[in-house]
Symmetry: C2
Subunit: 219 residues, 2 copies
């Protein structure tokens, strides 16, 4: 398999979601054109992305939905369950624990940690919040594959170090801070503050350039 | 001002956070080297990013923290308040409403919407959840600059259309679906499912290539 770029993986993830929907609607075949349309890319891009993994389509007929979905599922590592530990059960962490969408894709939140005595021992969904110092014990048995950091900014690097020491192989960081982890650990940062600021930048700079198109918007 | 790339804007957002921290710690000057170190980029990158906006640094002395923070604040459009409406108050939407971190940067959640009668009229933080059909009214008075889509996948495009029609100028989409909006509306998608799948891909493919470095990890 050739080296696959991060952006290809992201598109695969989107194609997978489209295929799930189409399959649920009873669709059996899908053209690269339709797959592209739903994702806002070109059909050439779809064919290129999928050609990395072998030949799934039949010219003129399109892709077999169930087969392609299974293939992408396997490529994305979704043909197994992933054990996720969430660290920090403030609003964001709690929401993640209670949101069932990830479970459907194979990501089971199996442990929640905090260091606030007021939170430790409290039930959350079908779990009980544990003390962050128990992380190594939980990571050993029943085991953790992935960690989610939903702590305040200042604690984030320390928690990342603890997750790495406990042996997780992937981390999602929701704290608005750049974190450093060893190369063998995959890290993805989801920073909503950056997204908000990227919007305010875009809007403020359109306005500054006199290209504002909505004169009724507050300045 | 030259055309600024999306990735530069994101780094500015990070520099801003570092400068806030340094200022809170009482720091008055910061070198491009230290700013770079905190962000995991090179100091040349920092100087290049900041040079887009004029000359903030003094050779050998570094940047004046307070001044640079103010400049970036203004560049990012954070020297005003932004009025945010959240659509969909399930777990993720509710968490956003209750999370105070965005407020600190100038983003005030001023309205929450849902279409579930069981949720409409209920208090949430210091707001009351409104019917999504009231969106145009609320957008007119008191006004909305930005919308956050935290609905299930299937409703997301319809909600985006409604937000655009109501005149918002920027949208953050948390639903795992590609959305289409007119060019004058800024759109950012934050898809946690894609992030999880990008991790599982990375880990599954390291394992598949026999480069797994943690023999004690569950397969």
């Amino acid at each position: 398999m050739p080296r696959i770029s991060e952006s290809t993986v992201r598109r695969l993830s989107h194609y997978y979601r489209v295929l799930e929907e189409v399959e649920a609607e009873g669709g059996r075949l899908i053209s690269s054109h339709r797959l592209a349309e739903r994702e806002g890319v070109t059909s050439a891009q779809v064919r290129k992305d999928l050609s990395c993994f072998g030949s799934f389509g039949r010219r003129g007929l399109g892709y077999n939905v169930a087969h392609l979905r299974q293939e992408i599922r396997s490529i994305l590592g979704l043909d197994r369950r992933w054990r996720v530990g969430v660290v920090g059960v403030g609003n964001l962490g709690t929401a993640l624990m209670l949101y069932r969408g990830f479970e459907k894709q194979g990501f089971d939140v199996v442990a929640a940690f905090d260091r606030d005595p007021a939170r430790i021992g409290k039930p959350l969904g079908n779990l009980v919040v544990r003390d962050i110092v128990d992380l190594p014990v939980v990571a050993k048995e029943p085991g953790l594959d992935l960690g989610v950091i939903a702590t305040p900014l200042r604690a984030a690097q320390e928690v990342a170090d603890a997750l790495v020491a406990a042996g997780v192989r992937g981390i999602i960081n929701l704290a608005p801070r750049k974190l450093f982890v060893p190369r063998h650990v995959a890290l993805r940062t989801v920073d909503l503050t950056v997204e908000f600021e990227s919007l305010s930048f875009a809007i403020a700079n359109v306005a500054a350039r006199g290209r504002r198109r909505r004169p009724n918007s507050p300045g």
